[in-house]
């Protein structure tokens, strides 16, 4: 407990939330309890992930000051927003935060422009901020329209712009895509990625969709029944075997790669990461660009590897000649780190280390026995398919 008495402390690049909140079950249901003690990075996107009812939204509302907590300590990049021990509580409208609600929350009696002006009138937003934001979310055309005449995706883009125009020091997003259909989601996701790339504001992003979290988050908090199960960088958290994420049907690793080559002849694109290279169908993405890939555990096959092959990272060329003939293109040298039960008793989950990058592979228990797989064994991870998170 290193709490400072002044409302500014040294934790300039962290968000600290120590919150307890209990509802007495006045509706006849058992009372809900939120008990969270988190220290989060004060930059990038932190995904709050969990089933509905796990307390994600309540936590976000506590951080916004919209929910009355029993006890709470909250500090955002050095600014103390709440400290119940010292009876210190900054009301929502004095917190430098932006909040994007689940459903479009534009004021229906104001046009798009008036909705945006509502925000900037109350925060001294400069013209250049205005232009950048309007441009970043592509809403210049919508200014004169009323919210009722916007599509769901447009409304949410305006709501995000409005939140950004308050010049927040923390942006809270409560399942901003959940009210949208798949096509609208795809329309908004690139804008969210731009926020991530172009803004310095830390974002807390609530979602129960693992694909959104995998695509956007740098850091993940896993929530269940009002508690946090785990909190850590996305790439390591997703491959942890002790968490329920490893049991889910769509369990898998996310790896960060760099585009290194385009193969015009075969319309392929090569992506490098610490464990080797992966070839995927060509997309118009510039060389040197970072790209996230999701490798589902169910799409990774394991093949025994002689240690002599271990030196070879030339995985993209000619490996078929060395390893028999198959159409498979992506083969990564790895070592088994650990093994755990998967959701179905027929399956077993392997955690693999590919030169520092962790992968998951889900194979049948029988295959595991036939190959006599144990931790420490050298294997090839054969990747059937990858999902580009872009």
């Amino acid at each position: 407990m290193h709490r400072n008495s002044v409302s500014h402390s040294k934790n300039n690049n962290t968000i600290i939330a120590d919150i307890k909140l209990g509802y007495s079950g006045h509706t006849g249901k058992l009372g809900f309890q939120l008990k969270v003690n988190l220290t989060l990075p004060g930059h990038g996107i932190t995904g709050l992930f969990g089933h509905s009812g796990s307390g994600k939204t309540t936590l976000l509302r506590c951080i916004a000051g919209l929910e009355h907590t029993n006890t709470g300590y909250l500090e955002v990049n050095g600014e103390v927003w709440q400290d119940s021990e010292r009876r210190h509580f900054i009301p929502t409208h004095q917190r430098a935060l932006g909040y994007v609600f689940q459903e479009a929350s534009l004021f229906p009696h104001l046009s798009v422009q008036e909705n945006l002006h509502y925000a900037i009138k109350r925060c001294s937003t400069s013209n250049s901020d205005w232009n950048t934001t309007i441009d970043m979310l592509g809403i210049a055309e919508l200014m004169q329209r009323m919210p009722a005449r916007l599509s769901g995706g447009e409304r949410q883009r305006v709501a995000i712009a409005r939140a950004l125009l308050t010049k927040p020091r923390l942006l809270l997003m409560d399942e901003p895509l959940s009210a949208l259909d798949a096509a609208r989601k795809q329309e908004i996701l690139p804008y969210l990625e731009r926020l991530h790339d172009e803004l310095a504001v830390p974002i807390l992003y609530v979602s129960h969709q693992s694909d959104e979290i995998a695509r956007l988050a740098d850091h993940v908090v896993l929530m269940e029944n009002g508690h946090t199960l785990a909190s850590g960088p996305l790439l390591t958290l997703l491959t942890r075997m002790d968490l329920p994420t490893a049991l889910a049907e769509d369990a898998g690793a996310v790896i960060e790669t760099t585009v290194t080559q385009h193969d015009q002849r075969y319309h392929l694109m090569q992506l490098d990461f610490s464990g080797g290279a992966i070839v995927v169908p060509h997309r118009d993405i510039a060389i040197g660009k970072k790209l996230r890939l999701r490798l589902h555990a169910r799409d990774v096959i394991v093949e025994l590897r002689n240690t002599d092959d271990a030196t070879s990272f030339d995985t993209t060329h000619n490996h078929n000649s060395k390893h028999g003939v198959s159409s498979l293109q992506n083969r990564i040298a790895a070592t088994i780190v650990s093994m755990a039960d998967a959701a179905h008793p027929a399956h077993i989950m392997l955690q693999l280390d590919a030169c520092g990058t962790l992968l998951l592979a889900r194979i049948t228990r029988r295959a595991c026995d036939q190959l006599a797989l144990t931790p420490g064994k050298h294997v090839w991870a054969l990747i059937k398919s990858v999902a580009l998170l872009a």
Binding site: P91, L97, G98, S105, F107, A163
Partner: protein, 245 residues
Amino acid sequence: MYITADDWGAIRLTLTLASLVTVLLLAIGTPIAWWLATTRSRSKDWICAIVALPLVLPPTVIGFYLLIAMGPHGPIGRITQALGLGVLPFTFSGLVVASVFYSMPFVIQPLQNAFEAIGPRPMEVAASLRASPLDAFFTVAIPLAKPGFVTAAILGFAHTVGEFGVVLMIGGSIPGKTRVLSMQIYEHVESMDYTQAHILAAVMLAFSFIVLLLMYRNGRRDRHDDDHHHSYHNHTPRDHQNGSA
């Protein structure tokens, strides 16, 4: 067949009274309605019941109690005397005070319904955009509750125009002071002057019908305009058919 100077006086007095009462009620009723719409306090039910009393009580009962309260020995009477205003019964001021009590549910209930229909979300959004609660109340809650205000004003006005029993108890029938339209009609009937009674009764009937027609049109046009979010506006007043005028 024409309207006499006395009749015009009664009409003018009625309109003055109704306008004044409507303005006062909107001013007093708005904070009460907001409190009722947003509070989690247990005393809410008590206040709701008290506000709704004029809907079910005979006007004579309300008038009787107000007469006593405003009389020289009543609590209101003592205050008004202490302030140097004298006693209120059988004065225009007394009529205004009594009408405010009597028409209160007709203003508060539509406002409360409108505020409840807005829900907490728009106010939370406003807070997240740095609007203080008071700022948000004027820039978000009141504009969103506008149809409720229109209904409240129309009902408050029309109900004050139409009251009789309370006027009889508190105001009596002093020409130019407390003899409002409904009293004037009563006087005409008492003196067997049916022609004049007919004219004024027809004026009242037409007025009331037009007012209600306007109110329902207001409600419908509004729902049509914002069909995407009409849950924001639900301002049908409860029980206003119970009013005895």
